[in-house]
Symmetry: C2
Subunit: 420 residues, 2 copies
């Protein structure tokens, strides 16, 4: 079958939607602060719902607040082909992370609507709740419940720093729906996202064909020494926990650089007692290790633990390393990836295969439905930052591929159903 | 003149006073939490006042809350010979830091009282307000006002973390006196203190003849990089402020170890934004440099600033170093030190000359009166810690020397006045 070429998304309309919704929670520096389940999240959800309904969609909400805007197909008994991402942001997030995936999906749906094109399967646009995890940890909690990674009751009871629960926050903004989270079956799920890294831009490629998500492991480390007087304790008699932590930070950096694809990050550190004239007796910090190959993370963990023990021994400290989270590597669905390749080819864009270095809702959804992602470049690889930026033509390329992918996948479904 | 040998302090009575007052603000682990100008500070001040009055002393209070318990001499027009220290503690302080200097002074005074010994000059015991600086910064603020290092109005307006001012706290516990701080003239001041370091214990010496206080300088340093996504930012593209800070911590340690007497400490560090999956864009930390010779601190400052610039250059960071406090080295009064040497000799204790590595009220008082200090050993050099400990005989040796010093200094004063 030749690819469908006559449907083209409207780049201006998509850009207008991105800029219009960016005002909801917009910051002075051009970013967005739209924490999940806040009043501004309700506002953008209301906008999304109204827009989808204006296109004739039925909008349903599950009991984790995930929103499904559904355009009917020829066969409404077939599970929908879904697209989407998330509308919440980091506290100082950009205009594109999450929003592009939802608004491009809406634009693709609108293109079908205006053309009067009837798909075989229903088409849905999904807005997943709390992808970022900035207000309620962990991130991707609602797609995690959808995929069975967490229980609904555990997730609903998560509290923000003010002690408000996820469930209370859902009720407060009126987005606790009736459908049990996870009951919603999908024929496939496609998530368009900015790369959040430098590779597409550096290689001059317009589209990233995402083949999987790298593995990730989180740890907490505590280095214990002895707090003592900064004036009276001679250098050779010190058991300085911060000096030990500093050497471990260096070891993490050294270790990650030994593997071409690996990253290792100490992002949070607390030093106790934390007084200018007291030698630190304790340093607590987090450790984030990632690589497409989980066995590389195993090797990094072993090397870092050994380095930490050696450093602690040299300084008369003790050290405790605790694994607190493990995300296996994800391989996306081969059929979905083939559809992306076909769509890229049909659209004429340049592309490369790429691994997602960040976590995404698609990584959980992949456990319960054929899933993949499409990446577009972002400037300097910067994300989770108000300076995050992708150009209009980069966004529209992603949206066009997303539309083509859905059409391709829908034709495959049609073929499969015809053959029985 | 032969030394006076017939007056001996009561080791048991001193120990009992140390243990009794340690209950005021006493902690479960055997330390003391007696923050300045709190209810427990009032309680120990009331105890001190009552005890001094029972020995026939007049107790006056200045407008910084410093307390002066005065025993009359033959010549009440001669400024008093004073002894003392402070009764406030760190949040998890020990039983000896400060308390020993006040209670041993009280014991010396009691010994004179019981013996009916009449000194030439009046003898005073001083309790300085807020030596520790744990509730109101900076430490030694009231002896600092006494010596003209700070203005009274500035000090009175200092606020604790709850926004209560020093002046309000003085009024609340009823210890804002009428005498202007600094108007109180002294013939001399002697402060007995635990060493808070390891040298006396290591050398098997009973008394430290303190010849001065080392110089100290405080700095704040901020390392700025770029916060970015821990998953998507490849190692070579990072500008990790914490990695830079870690290398500077190592450089501070290396630098201090190049000078035999120097110490260098990073005691407080804050990493921003402080999220496990965000590469730190900023690290803020304090730097405390000390050496008996201020020119060594100059050299350390130059070396550390150069190392920080080099490290920042390597990692694509920027770094700002700001000097926030400078304490010059203090040389104590030669006449006072001679009295301590004479007292040590008369008492038969082993001793060594020593520099104080910590700041003390005596360092400020030395600006306005002949001053020195006497040190006694403490176990493992540990201080500012609930485990801080000196043995009964170590405490009483210090008290005995303190008494002898006052008698020696008083006789010198007598001689000087006779000669006119």
């Amino acid at each position: 079958m030749p690819p469908i070429k006559n449907l083209t998304i409207d780049a201006e309309r998509l850009w207008d939607d991105l800029m219009q919704t960016a005002r909801i929670g917009g910051t002075a520096k051009g970013g967005i602060c739209r924490l999940t389940l806040t009043d501004v999240d309700r506002e953008v959800r209301d906008w999304f719902k109204a827009r989808a309904q204006a296109l004739g969609c039925a909008v349903t909400v599950d009991d984790m607040g995930n929103m499904f805007a559904r355009r009917r197909g020829q066969r409404d008994d077939v599970p929908p082909i879904a697209m989407g991402s998330h509308l919440d942001t980091q506290p100082s997030g950009g205009k594109f992370d999450g929003a592009l995936g939802v608004l491009a999906a809406l634009e693709a749906l609108q293109t079908l609507h205006r053309a009067g094109y009837e798909t075989f399967a229903p088409i849905e646009v999904i807005n997943w709740t709390n992808e970022e995890g900035s207000r309620f940890t962990p991130g991707m909690i609602a797609s995690g419940v959808f995929a069975g990674a967490f229980t609904r009751d555990w997730a609903i009871a998560r509290q923000d720093r003010k002690g408000e629960s996820f469930g209370e926050a859902l009720d407060k903004i009126g987005y606790r729906g009736g459908e049990p989270c996870g009951a919603h079956k999908l024929s496939a799920f496609f998530e368009l996202h900015i790369e959040q890294g430098p590779y597409l831009e550096a290689g001059g490629k317009e589209i990233g064909v995402v083949t999987g998500v790298q593995a990730m492991r989180w740890y907490e480390m505590t280095v214990t020494g002895q707090d003592s007087h900064a004036g009276t304790t001679p250098m050779p008699r010190r058991h300085d926990a911060l000096l030990g932590a500093a050497r471990i930070v260096e070891a993490v950096n050294d270790c990650a650089r030994q593997f071409p694809e690996a990253v290792g990050t100490v992002g949070l550190m607390e030093v106790r007692p934390g007084s200018p004239n007291v030698i630190p007796g304790e340093a607590y910090f987090t450790l984030d290790l990632r690589d497409p190959d989980a066995t590389v993370i195993d090797r990094m963990e072993t090397a870092i633990a050994a380095a930490a023990e050696r450093i602690a021994g040299e300084l008369g400290l003790s050290v405790a390393l605790k694994n607190v989270s493990t995300q296996p590597a994800v391989e996306f669905d081969k059929g979905c990836i083939a559809s992306v390749r076909a769509a890229v080819k049909a659209s004429g864009y340049s592309s490369r295969d790429i691994i997602s270095r960040a976590g995404h809702d698609a990584a959980y959804v992949a456990r319960v439905a054929p899933t993949t992602m499409i990446f577009v470049p972002c400037r300097d690889g910067i994300s989770h930052n108000e300076a995050e930026f992708s150009r209009k033509e980069q966004c529209s390329a992603g949206a066009q591929v997303l539309l083509q992918v859905v059409l391709d996948y829908d034709r495959q479904l049609t073929e499969r159903h015809r053959r029985g």
